[in-house]
Amino acid sequence: MKVLYFAWLRTRIGKPEDAIELPKGVGDVRGLIDHLRGLGPGYDQALKDLKTVRVAVNHEYVGFDHRLKPTDEVALFPPVTGG
């Protein structure tokens, strides 16, 4: 599964994307984020406050309970500031 990071999530984690093998038992976005937080202090710091994290799966906004498929493209980013 491809996981993309943008804005300060990307700078805190230190890279723009990961290729993640979904661990057994992880089925939704919340589970994926919990798994990512265990990958290092940068991940943990970037993802510890879910109020500041937005999620898109295959370019559509989803909630933290959204079920994931191995072929999904997941993006994690802060609230948007365009316009």
Binding site: F6, A56, F77, P78, P79, V80, T81, G82, G83
Partner: protein, 155 residues
């Protein structure tokens, strides 16, 4: 119609192109967003707009389609830039054309309010304190929220 690009745009030329050859348009409303040199109390030297290629186009197209569903527009255009921009540079253009002005005014406001909270762009400002990511504003969420209910004008 939507466009995401690094290059600048010419608002006059874009509006002329939008209405060229049309005889059903009574008015065009346009909004041009520019880079301001101040953010709070910090002087901005420049800003860099990051975006999510693929999702940006998809979300802008969805917002544009929603505006056309809600209002009887003859034409609409959203251009959003990305990359490094300096104070005074153009960031975004929203233009809406309709037979009557109310739809054009309302739809342009809807488009800019909605894209601010849904289009995946992030601003990194260069300030004297260093580079700082712009935080989302609650006032933008409030501005977008009033469009969640279908306005009477669109019925």
């Amino acid at each position: 119609m939507i466009r995401v690009q690094r290059e600048d745009f010419d608002p006059g030329r874009e509006i002329a192109r939008l209405t060229e050859g049309r005889r059903d348009i009574g008015g065009v409303v346009s909004f041009v967003g520019l880079v301001r040199d101040m953010a709070g109390d910090a002087k901005i030297g420049a800003m860099t707009l990051e975006h999510y290629p693929g999702m940006t186009e998809k979300q802008l197209a969805a917002i544009d389609a929603e505006a056309n569903r809600r209002w009887p527009l003859a034409a609409s255009l959203v251009i959003h830039r990305y990359g490094r921009l300096e104070p005074g540079d153009r960031i975004v253009l929203v233009a809406t054309a309709s037979p009557h002005r109310d739809a054009a005014f309302d739809a342009s406001r809807f488009l800019i309010d909605w894209l601010k909270t849904r289009a995946p762009f992030w601003k990194l400002e260069e300030t004297p304190r260093g580079a700082e990511w712009v935080e989302a504003k609650a006032s933008d969420d409030i501005a977008a929220a009033r469009w969640r209910k279908k306005p009477d004008a669109a019925e």
